[in-house]
Structures are given as structure tokens and as C-alpha cells.
């Protein structure tokens, strides 16, 4: 068993309303940033997970996304193993 650091990125589906992103883009241009073409806001979860292998860790992470971490109706997700923390 090792402890893996999973980075889980959950982002709003393209095409879906993202008022938060819009508000941030608006605020940025108010602040004088001219070149901001688009902003989308999602969630990032750092999950520390004990698993026998990297593949297993990632697969469990993806399963967690399907079950809980992402809403299949409105969100896409992506799981990467960002690091191995220690032997658990």
C-alpha cells in the first residue's frame, strides 16, 4: 500500500451557464485586464488515498467521481496522480 495524492478536477460542462466564471471575467476586465477572453470556474480536490498501485488509485478516484465528486449532468472530471506521498 502506498499513499497517493490524486488531483481531481471537476469542471462545468462546456455550454453550461457558468455565472461564477462570467463574474470573474467581468471583475478582471474591471480591474483593467484587457486580454481576458473567457473564464470558467471548477473545483479541484486533493485526495490522499491509500492504494496498492497507481493505476488502482486512479481508478478508484474515477469511481469516486462517478459516484459523488462530479455531477454527470453538469460536470466533467479528470483524475491525475499528482504524487506518491509515502508508504501507508
Amino acid at each position: 500500500m502506498k499513499r497517493y495524492h490524486l488531483e481531481v478536477r471537476v469542471k462545468p460542462r462546456p455550454g453550461l451557464l457558468d455565472p461564477q466564471g462570467k463574474a470573474v471575467a467581468h471583475a478582471l476586465s474591471d480591474l483593467g485586464y484587457a486580454g481576458v477572453a473567457d473564464v470558467r470556474v471548477g473545483k479541484i480536490l486533493d485526495v490522499e488515498l491509500d492504494a496498492p498501485s497507481e493505476t488502482e488509485a486512479r481508478e478508484r478516484g474515477e469511481e469516486m467521481c462517478r459516484k459523488l465528486l462530479a455531477n454527470p449532468v453538469t460536470e466533467d472530471f479528470e483524475v491525475t496522480v499528482a504524487g506518491i506521498l509515502e508508504d501507508a
Binding site: L16, L17, P19, L68, L69
Partner: protein
């Protein structure tokens, strides 16, 4: 008529729902805890508003995995009426018992005030006591009430007469200003295909006594009572 009022950790309208059912003769509300794997012998289920699990991650996301939701799913599959209000609606969407999702209000702010609702269908255990087209005044209180669904799902909801309530003006018209969270098709409440599950963002349980400013929510409870007792509901405006 026994009604299971479900309490998730963080529910805060469970007691309000309980009291609303108590107001009407015939209902016997009982609390059920989210860890209860069985509902017991009940005739209807109420999923209350609040912030189950703090609304963390997404409203309703964690609650929909509670043991009690398995029991609710079975109950609904057997045709039992299930009413989800506010967070209850969010839980129903997260669990797939109703289509679509409730996203952050585009204003990015919590909205708490009275809204007007137009009764869109009387063909359900929850709306039979109303007249079609009636305009109700009922409070909302939510941060995530923007209803969205795929084009196909929206078409289905429209085509199958499954939109129970729409946000409207005082006179019953549909105007952008009267849609507090820019919900698609002004949707405030929807039914499942079998019409025994209703999810809605506004709080009918907060509009059941004059002293609260409105009694327009009573019709929901009266409809349900009529449905459960097999009698025809008398129409209230």
C-alpha cells in the same frame, strides 16, 4: 396517513415540514434519520429543505448517498408519493429520481423573498386541489435554484405535462424579472414520469398560515391528503 419527514445532517426545514403536515387533520408526520435503511409503514415521504451536509461539494450530492435514500427510491418505485422541497428537490435531482440539476443562482447570491408561482398542471397527487393557472405566493430561500436540463429532457417535461410550477408575475405572466434564478423554462417544480415525485424550490410549508403571510401552500398538502385518502380534492384557488 403517515408521512416520513427525512432528516439529513444539516436539514433545517424538517421541523417546518412536520408542523405543516400537523396542521392538516389526517396526517401523522414522523421523523426518519438519514441512516435509517427502512422507512417503515408510511404513506408519503417529505424531503425537507436545508443544507444537508452543509451543501458541501454540491447541494444534495452527499445526502443522496444516505442509506435512507435507498428506501425512498424503493418507496417511490412502488408508486408512493415523494415531495422534495428546496434541498429536497436538489437531493432528488442528484439521485436521478428527477431529471436535470440545480445550479448556482446566476446572481451568485442567495435569494430569499416571496415569489409567484403558476400552477401548470393539476394532474398530480400534489396539485389536484389547485386550479390550473392559479397564481400562488410562496417564499423561496436558496442559493442554488437555477434549474437546468438537457434539451430533450426539457422537451419531455413540457410534452408530458410534468412541469408543476413556473415562476411568474403577480398576474401569472412569464417575465425575466419574475424568474428569480433564471431557471430554464421558468421551472420552479417538476414531476417524474410516473407523477408521484415532485421536486420544487419554493417552500409551500412556509405558506400555510395567515400569520406567515400566505396560505397558498396549503393546496399541496390538501392535494396529497385527498390523493392518499382516495377522495377528490376540493378545489382551492
Amino acid at each position: 396517513m403517515k408521512v416520513a419527514v427525512i432528516t439529513f445532517p444539516g436539514s433545517n426545514c424538517d421541523y417546518d415540514g412536520y408542523q405543516a403536515f400537523k396542521l392538516l387533520d389526517g396526517f401523522e408526520p414522523e421523523f426518519r434519520w438519514h441512516r435509517d435503511a427502512a422507512l417503515g409503514d408510511v404513506d408519503a415521504v417529505f424531503l425537507p429543505g436545508g443544507f444537508s451536509y452543509g451543501d458541501y461539494l454540491r447541494p444534495g450530492a452527499i445526502a443522496h448517498l444516505s442509506p435512507v435514500m435507498e428506501a425512498v427510491r424503493d418507496f417511490a418505485a412502488g408508486g408512493g408519493p415523494v415531495l422534495g422541497v428546496c434541498n429536497g428537490f436538489q437531493v432528488l435531482c442528484e439521485s436521478g429520481l428527477l431529471p436535470g440539476a440545480l445550479l448556482r443562482n446566476p446572481s451568485l447570491r442567495f435569494r430569499s423573498h416571496d415569489v409567484h408561482l403558476r400552477v401548470e398542471t393539476t394532474r398530480s397527487p400534489f396539485t389536484s386541489a389547485y386550479e390550473k393557472g392559479a397564481v400562488l405566493r410562496i417564499p423561496i430561500a436558496h442559493g442554488d435554484g437555477h434549474y437546468t436540463a438537457s434539451k430533450e429532457e426539457l422537451a419531455e417535461l413540457e410534452g408530458e405535462d410534468r412541469i408543476a410550477f413556473r415562476y411568474c408575475t403577480t398576474e401569472g405572466g412569464l417575465a425575466p424579472e419574475s424568474n428569480p434564478n433564471h431557471s430554464e423554462h421558468h421551472i420552479a417544480g417538476i414531476l417524474n414520469p410516473a407523477r408521484n415525485i415532485l421536486g420544487m424550490m419554493p417552500h409551500p410549508e412556509r405558506a400555510v398560515e395567515d400569520i406567515l403571510g400566505s396560505t397558498d401552500g396549503l393546496g399541496l398538502f390538501e392535494s396529497l391528503r385527498a390523493h392518499l385518502s382516495g377522495t377528490l380534492a376540493t378545489q382551492t384557488p
